[in-house]
Amino acid sequence: MRKLLLLVTVVLVGLVFIARLFYLQVYNSSSYNIFEDTAIRKVYNYPKRGYVYDRNGKLLVANQPSYDVMVIPREVSPLDALELEEFCRLLKITKEEYTKKLNKARNYSPRLPSPFVPQLSKTDYAVLQEKMRKFEGFYIQKRSLRFYQTSIGANVLGDLGEVNRRIIKRQPYYKLGDLIGKQGIELSYEDVLRGVKGIKFIQKDRHNKNIGPYKDGRYDTLPKPGKDITITIDSELQAYGELLMKHKRGGIVALDPQSGEILAMVTGPSYNPNLLVGRERNKNFSRLFRDTINMPTFDRGLQAQYPPGSPFKVINALIGLQEEVVEIDDKFTCRMGYYYGSRRLTGCHHHRSPVDMNEGIAQSCNAYFVNVYRRIVDKYDDAGKGMNIWSEHAKSFGLGNYLNNDLSVGRKGRIPDGDYYDRQYGDNRWGSTYIVSNAIGQGEVEATPIQLANMAAAIGNRGYYYTPHIIKSIEGDTIPKKFKIPHHTTIDKRHFEPVIEGMFDVYNKGTAQSLRVPGIEICGKTGTAENFVKIDSVKTQLTDHSIFVAFAPKDNPKIAIAVFVENGYWGSRFAGRMASLMIEKYIKGHITRTDLEKWILTHSLENEYKKPYSDEPFKINGETTLQVIDEYSMDTDSQLQNLNY
């Protein structure tokens, strides 16, 4: 027994040690990561972020230098009262803020750098830089901020913001305090624009002094500058669209049908992109983001799903022809609406009756399209099958699903099919009469303005479209191949001509007669969509949305456009006017119908938007008068100049 005591103790101690070592070195130790090694200082060298040019080579976004004061809390030595006062004065913060910021940084990590005071001005930086050595644990990190050369296109260009911890966890490339694209092309082309940071590893000693490069700089890298990009936006057209959209809510999307390039992408209301740069960004962003009434950060051109209204009738006409359930000469009677037995399923406005396809489109006759639509759905004994075929055709125009493009936001829209109604009503417990609203673009059908613009492009191209996209070229690189491949619709090319004639006649003799542009053959379609909101849980109707979809010229179209103006009442009233102005601006480069332009710039819908929030009863549509504002003391050119596009 006596012989065993020391032997047993030695073995026990050995086992305890190995267990403890296993715990320290294997169980509790993550694999070695130089970025977490506090003995190695990491010095980042930020590359130039790529510039952004518009399709005509105009510089839209450049960079400006910015200086962040960073802190590594563990290395901060306590400041005496005098030093503290000086430091706070230099940084323009109070002592309470100093303590608060330091604690916040320490809570994140005592070892890793956190931004202490971000984005100093140049003068503050110059003063601070000389005294920085006195304050241990703090250093200045140079970065570059965006410098917008324009005040337009906030929704297109997007902005940069500090990375949050969720992003850092997912993408370790980013460190706290780094900037990343948050919206727009800054987000969708982040990888291209950002470049790659350079890094230097420096061995420290325990007094936190640098004692030389880590492993002779073997792992150090140089920064790779970000690539410049050219976007498809025509900044002049974009600026003009934003000007037209003033005092209105809605979206305009203009495309080049022959390439799918987005020429303009307007949302209203918008804001100046310079608001989201630098120290003021967070404050301004939350102000914009929390404005749930105007929703300036909500891109109505991409994200707003509206019932498309009458422009959708064109699709029904095309499907009817493709399915051979209607001939162009077939005429349908309209008795101020469509009657099923004695029940009126939809109303209609006053026009000649009966109408054939051309006139049905030009006059936007509801009864005509309900007839066509019912024939499509009822082509087979099973309404579900008819509905599925209808849905497939409609979806081939890029509706009802994501466009799969290079924009940071988007919506699917909705094109219902047979299953959809089976779920709504029960299997086969519905028929074409239940769902006639789809015939005229109301009911369950929904689309975003960009989808409608793309639809117009597909019609203008007589049966195909390119995915709408915003990238035109990348410095030293090619744009994704998917934007070069045409998508064909399920409608035969020959069926398009009569329908396009109908859209042409919308201008010649139909609902947009007053909007003709001399010298340009425009094909379009007006739309008016009823809409409702809940006010104190009562479903209340608001003034109709004004919709217009068009392409021009009629042959080999150069522009396809969708305009959506919330509560603008009827199609040609706001949207139609704006669409024709945009088309003229793009094709001719100048406006010949200044009276029309003046009308748009001096009429506001702001009173209209206040109604649901007024707590008072209000009238809609024809019973209201339009608000006129006097902002035309300045001519359009100067107003455009002010936009600094």
């Binding site: 006596r2 012989k3 005591l5 020391l6 032997l7 103790t9 030695v10 073995v11 101690v13 050995g14 305890v16 040690f17 190995i18 403890r20 070592l21 296993f22 320290l24 070195q25 294997v26 509790n28 130790s29 694999s31 070695y32 090694d37 003995a39 190695i40 061995q203 420290k204 000693d205 325990r206 004692i211 030389g212 880590y214 492993k215």
Partner: protein, 426 residues
């Protein structure tokens, strides 16, 4: 039988190989812990790694010297060697040199010598000599007191020189005494006192007393036959309470503040966050740094000369007492468990050989060697990993320093010599 056939080399080759592994690996880690920039000259004696190389060279001379003496020499001269060592320790009070507050060094020119490192083997020799005397009986109180005095004298002298760490090493001889016949009751009492001291500090005297009472009551009712009188139990309880209270008083007033803080850190007694924060920069700093260095090594380590914390000299005293943190960072779990394994093997080998000795002197000495190495190994590595409170003693054959290296080498090789001689004994 085999050994007799190998007349050419009669020394225990297992010990020698383990020794070579330790000093060799130790040197590599000292090189790593002490180099600055690129190493151009390994023999640069202005650098610690250069000096250590010189020490190592002299160590081999020393080994040959020790092995060339007659084995009987050590037994015969044990008392004299002990006396010389004691004189050397006393001499420090007059001729000694203060380093870091401890008066433990003689300065000879640019060299320093630490006699306490040599006092260990001298004491081991003296203890072996006394116990192996035919008239000594470790069961008697008289001999127990005398042999305690042999270790108490150098321990006290070292304590007075302000080197508390080296004093604790002398507790190692308890294992020797126990092996040679010290009554079991001492072991039980010793262990009980350690448990009482720790519990008393951690949970307070009241709770500890309550715990002891519960244990005593349970024992009383379990022992149906030989219960003894209740008075005995009350006496044990009383002594326990008085002892743990005494420990508490000693902890609060009897030791230096930095020692107090080390214990408080170990038992996690300090709850005040502000004070803890301050401790992190003083008493706990070394420990935090060394634990970080060790765990940053991971399974296979960062590689020889590649440790970032070692290169940045993050762990103070990383070439001496904290050398194990360098092993941990650069060689990882593989390296650290290798070192632990070698020490365990070495100690077990010594114990095995000690038990096989024919002369009691050799056996007791071997036990002394094993015990001293064991205490150093346990305290040093335990401290570097935060398992026991900080006590500044070196890791044998690893830590930088000539006195230490030579002290341990002499300690070990006297035993190797004694062992080689056992076939000649009757």
């Amino acid at each position: 039988m085999l050994r007799e056939n190998h007349r050419g080399f009669k020394f225990d080759w297992i010990i020698i190989i383990l020794f070579l592994l330790l000093v060799g690996f130790g040197y590599l880690n000292i090189l790593s812990a002490s180099h600055v920039g690129e190493v151009t000259n390994y023999f640069d004696t202005t650098q610690l790694y250069g000096k250590q190389l010189v020490f190592l060279g002299l160590t081999f001379v020393l080994v040959i010297l020790i092995l060339s003496f007659e084995a009987k020499f050590y037994e015969r001269f044990a008392s004299i060697i002990y006396l010389v060592a004691i004189l050397a320790l006393i001499g420090l009070f007059i001729f000694g040199k203060d380093v870091n507050g401890a008066r433990s060094w003689y300065g000879i020119g640019s060299m320093t010598i630490q006699p306490s490192e040599f006092a260990k083997f001298a004491t081991a020799l003296a203890v072996a000599k006394y116990i192996s005397d035919l008239q000594t009986n470790m069961q008697t109180l008289k001999d127990q007191l005398r042999v305690t005095a042999i270790i108490f004298i150098p321990a006290l002298l070292i304590l007075l020189q302000n080197d508390a760490g080296s004093t604790i090493v002398y507790l190692a001889f308890f294992f020797v005494f126990y092996r040679e016949g010290l009554q079991q009751i001492y072991l039980i009492i010793g262990l009980s006192l350690i448990v009482l001291a720790v519990l008393g500090l951690k949970f307070g005297v009241l709770i500890t007393g309550g715990g002891v009472a519960i244990v005593l009551i349970t024992t009383y009712f379990l022992r149906k036959k030989k219960r003894g009188s209740i008075l005995q139990y009350i006496l044990v309880l009383l002594i326990s309470v008085i002892f743990s209270y005494g420990v508490k008083l000693f902890y609060q007033h009897g030791i230096k503040p930095h020692q107090q803080n080390r214990i408080s850190l170990w038992l996690r007694l300090e709850k005040d966050p502000a004070k803890l924060e301050r401790m992190k920069k003083s008493e706990a700093y070394n420990l935090i740094q060394s634990e970080q260095a060790i765990s940053s090594g991971g399974f296979s380590g960062k590689g020889f000369l590649e440790g970032t914390r070692t290169t940045g000299k993050f762990v103070p005293e990383q070439e001496t007492d904290y050398i194990f943190s360098t092993v941990g960072e650069e060689w990882g779990f593989l390296g650290t468990s290798f070192v632990v394994l070698i020490f365990v093997c070495l100690i077990i080998r010594i114990l095995y050989l000690a038990e096989a000795q024919k002369s009691q002197f050799s056996r007791v000495y071997g036990y002394g060697v094993a015990s001293i190495l064991f205490i150093h190994f346990t305290i040093n590595i335990g401290m570097v990993m935060g398992l026991i409170p900080t006590v500044g003693i070196p890791l044998p054959f690893f830590s930088y320093g000539g006195s230490g290296l030579w002290g341990f080498t002499i300690l070990l090789f006297i035993f190797v010599k004694l062992d080689s001689n056992k076939i000649n004994e009757w």
